[in-house]
């Protein structure tokens, strides 16, 4: 099972822990997750819902 965080995970973090979300480490994790998942990272995209 793929546990790589998706875009909405980071948006939840932005609302629950703004300080952690705005850290350079979190931004690096977001970049890495997007590179790993490609379009599937953007989990609210209608075209990516078909892939998962």
């Amino acid at each position: 099972m793929d546990t790589t965080p998706v875009f909405s995970s980071f948006m939840r973090l932005r609302r629950t822990n703004s300080h952690l979300y705005h850290s350079a480490k979190t931004h690096q994790e977001m970049l890495a997750a997007q590179r790993q998942l490609g379009k599937r990272f953007y989990d609210k995209l209608s075209s990516s819902e078909d892939i998962t």
Partner: protein, 130 residues
Amino acid sequence: MRALDIISLMEEASARLERYDAEFVDKVETILAILRSKGVLSSKRLQQNGSYHTVLAASLVLAHEKQADIYLRTRSQGDLFKQGVSTTLISFLDNAIEQGLILSQAKDYKARGRMSLGEIITSYLEYETA
């Protein structure tokens, strides 16, 4: 669909950010996250560039609100300088096009002339509005 000058959009976006508009700011934060997740905006030197990045993201949100394309009149550093705009605007737009976040109609797929917001940005802005 009409096309609006990106520099005018940035000026309007900058003024809009000064008003307290939580819904607008939330959309801007979402677009900033998309731009960062694609590596279009670097998280390095966030202290120095953070507010400029916010204005860039806000100008895309504004274009979506106005249901408009964006338009870049010139890539000339001298002309942009005269208009008081950082020339990093060109690299930002070029990077966003390369990552598919903005669609260029130019033959060389660079930032010039008319450009549209790509699927990821429009989908998330429509999702946030719904």
